[in-house]
């Protein structure tokens, strides 16, 4: 548990390996530096803090790639607290990408709203380091720590427009409901810790919060309180489900996303969702693994089946609720919030596939598909929100669907790029969204075809996913129709596109087409094992 306590018990030097957490240390250090700079510069210098944040994120990404290709040298893992595997590295790259784009997205906006740029950028970097810890934590405690670092920074960012009531409401709602869900997660962790106590020889060994150890004990079937394990897993499911906005726990999403400043909404929809998926995947797939070999009566198979079926049902509800509710929205940010719920549902299909996979290759494929889905969603979502930020103007005033009436040919650059992002969110072929959906649905079908029992479940999941895509066409296309085929009655000035925004739009457009046309390289890269394989999760 505690680093000192472990060192004392073992009587040896602790398992320290600083290169292993190099990306986290870089991002965290730069966050502190940005905060410090902000304190010493009189007027907030958005280019200094923004540029420094970008440099820090680039260094973090470089360190991540270095970890992936060269390895972390010695094999210390902080007593299993930090893992080095392809899930961690791919999700880390996704969240760094999201943060870098958010910095570009916010650098002009933050000044236009008369907000302190340095504070915003350092909060963003702290949130990023939290997300990276969520992806790299091999222990429930580290995951919880990362989640809190992320959450506290995002609560503040939601309420960043201090004088706007909607922003305050968003922040307060997110804070209260978020703390509530953190409590669920923490309670789940405590129950799992209690449940995994086990008998070794003549004495009782205390429980564990290490995910690999939980997995081993569950597989061996020698945990003391199987019933508690179920309760703990259920609580954790609620906690993570809240963070990634799955259906019964999604009610906060529209209000929070609508009220938060638009760049923050873009960040929240892409970054924390990816980080939440990273730790959700790690805890459930490696902590409560699938074991065909163990007799069917064992607790391991039971808990695995239980969460797998629960998640399959959650995926169905999430997709349907998100898409159906998005149809009736008149506010673009609210609509995109429901769309983000629906996308969490699609990604859950890949999650279920990863959980049900019967061999390691299938599982690696499904995990890479989920990571890839998060990347594609981040690209198109950030692009769409960049356009929404530009059209909304100061104080987020123009975010209703009516505000998009007839802007199509007056601001062709903006409306064509927004249309591409919407089509990608819908899942049109040639765009990233299509390949993302194909990847997660294909992994579910693969698992379904090789699974001995309940293969119809996976087919049903995929069919419902495809039907939902058809439903979603209504509201994505509606916005495009509004932009190009409606008359505008009120006066409207074409917004200027600042250089940093233009850069965001170019990167995201290129990303949408690159991932849509040549997805193979990224998908293969996400499947690649890190160079020093000895510190990976469980040997199956």
């Amino acid at each position: 548990m505690n680093f000192f306590a472990v060192a004392l018990q073992a009587g040896t030097s602790p398992d320290i390996n600083f290169p292993l957490i190099l990306p986290e240390m870089i991002v965290c250090g730069v966050a502190v530096l940005v905060m410090f700079l902000d304190a010493f510069m009189r007027r907030s210098q958005r280019w200094v803090t923004g540029g420094l944040s970008l440099l820090g994120l680039a260094a973090g990404a470089a360190a991540t790639i270095w970890l992936w290709t060269r390895g972390a040298g010695s094999l210390g893992t902080f007593n299993g607290m930090i893992v080095l595997d392809e899930i961690r590295l791919s999700f880390t790259l996704v969240v760094i990408f999201v943060s870098a784009l958010t910095v570009l997205l916010s650098v002009v906006w933050v000044e236009g709203e008369h907000l302190p740029a340095g504070e915003f950028h350092s909060l963003l970097l702290f949130a990023t380091s939290g997300m990276m810890l969520m992806a790299s934590g091999g222990d429930l405690v580290i995951i919880f720590l990362g989640l809190e670092i992320l959450s506290i920074a995002t609560y503040v960012m939601c309420g960043f427009r201090r004088t706007d009531l909607r922003s305050n409401e968003s922040s307060l709602k997110y804070f209260i409901l978020g703390s509530f869900s953190s409590a669920f997660l923490l309670y789940g962790i405590a129950l799992v810790y209690g449940a995994t106590a086990t008998v070794r020889g003549s004495g009782v060994v205390a429980g564990t919060t290490n995910i690999a150890q939980i997995g081993e004990r569950v597989m061996a079937g020698d945990i003391m309180y199987p019933a508690l394990l179920f309760a703990g897993a259920a609580f954790m499911l609620v906690g993570f489900g809240f963070k990634i906005a799955t259906a019964p726990f999604h009610v906060w999403t529209p209000d929070v996303y609508e009220g938060a400043p638009t760049p923050v909404t873009a960040f929240m929809a892409a970054g924390p969702k990816a980080a939440g998926f990273a730790s959700f995947l790690r805890v459930f797939i490696f902590g409560f693994p699938f074991v065909g070999a163990v007799a069917s009566a064992s607790s391991a198979t039971n808990v695995h089946d239980a969460w797998l079926h629960a998640l399959a049902i959650l995926a169905i509800i999430t997709m349907s609720v998100g898409n159906v509710a998005a149809i009736v929205q008149n506010n673009v940010k609210r609509m995109l919030a429901y769309s983000s719920i629906a996308h969490a549902g699609y990604a859950l299909v890949g999650f279920v596939a990863a959980g049900a996979a019967t061999d390691a290759t299938q599982r690696a494929d499904a995990l890479a598909a989920v990571a890839f889905y998060m990347l594609t969603y981040a690209v198109m979502n950030l692009g769409a929100f960049a356009v929404v930020t530009l059209i909304a103007r100061q104080n987020d005033r123009r975010t209703e669907v009516e505000d998009y009436n007839g802007i199509g040919f007056r601001a062709p650059a903006l409306s064509f790029t927004l249309s591409i992002f919407l089509l990608s969110l819908l899942g049109m072929p040639l765009t990233a969204g299509f390949i993302g959906k194909v990847a997660v649905f294909a992994s579910a079908l693969n698992v379904g075809s090789s699974a001995p029992a309940a293969s119809s479940l996976y087919t049903i999941l995929v069919v419902i996913g495809v039907l939902n895509t058809a439903i979603s066409a209504y509201y994505y296309l509606r916005l495009i129709i509004v932009m190009f085929f409606r008359e505008r009655t009120t006066e409207w000035a074409v917004p200027r596109i600042p250089a940093s925004m233009a850069l965001v739009l170019v990167i995201t457009i290129l990303g949408v087409f690159y991932l849509g046309l040549f997805p193979g390289r990224v998908l293969d890269a996400f499947k690649r094992k890190p160079a020093s394989g000895a510190v990976t999760q469980i040997a199956r």
Partner: protein
């Protein structure tokens, strides 16, 4: 399981006695040797510097919250030093590398605390002067104007 022994809790009892003695001793001492000048204000019931009779819904500076929050933050962070100090000797006995590591880790922690403190000071959280107040009021006015929905001025939108 260790056996329960009441003697083991003797230090806690001692701690109680010392704490009680400290409090009682101070009050007694000031009663005995302190000088007394009674004024109207001094004879009022003590209520944290506020007027004890009157509306409870009085407005007071948001800085009080800030100070309270900063106090709690530093307080909790400093508590982390205690377990470190308790195990430091045991850990240091394991070798020079371990000793240095544990020492440097804590120094980093303290340095981070210091950075936070400097940030708070530079941001003017402890500045109660007239000028800070006037600046804050000016900022509040500017924000209020903005909220009223003025069209954004051109220089605010410029890249």
């Amino acid at each position: 399981m260790q056996e329960f022994r009441l003697e083991a809790y003797l230090p806690i009892l001692l701690m109680f006695i010392v704490a009680l003695g400290f409090a009682a001793g101070n009050i007694l001492l000031s009663q005995l040797v302190g000088q007394r000048k009674q004024t109207r204000t001094k004879l009022m019931p003590y209520e944290c510097g506020k007027d004890p009779v009157g509306s409870a819904r009085e407005r007071f500076s948001v800085k009080f919250y800030l100070i309270a929050m900063i106090f709690i933050l530093f307080d909790i962070e400093v508590i982390f030093l205690v377990p470190w100090a308790v195990v430091f000797k045991q850990l240091a006995a394991q070798g020079a590398m371990m000793r240095n590591l544990v020492y440097v880790e804590m120094m980093i922690f303290v340095a981070l605390l210091l950075v936070g403190y400097i940030y708070v000071v530079k941001k003017g959280a402890f500045d109660w002067g007239e000028r800070a107040r006037r600046e804050a009021e000016a900022e509040a006015r500017a924000l209020k104007d903005m909220q009223k929905g003025r069209e954004p001025s051109t220089n605010a939108r410029a890249a």
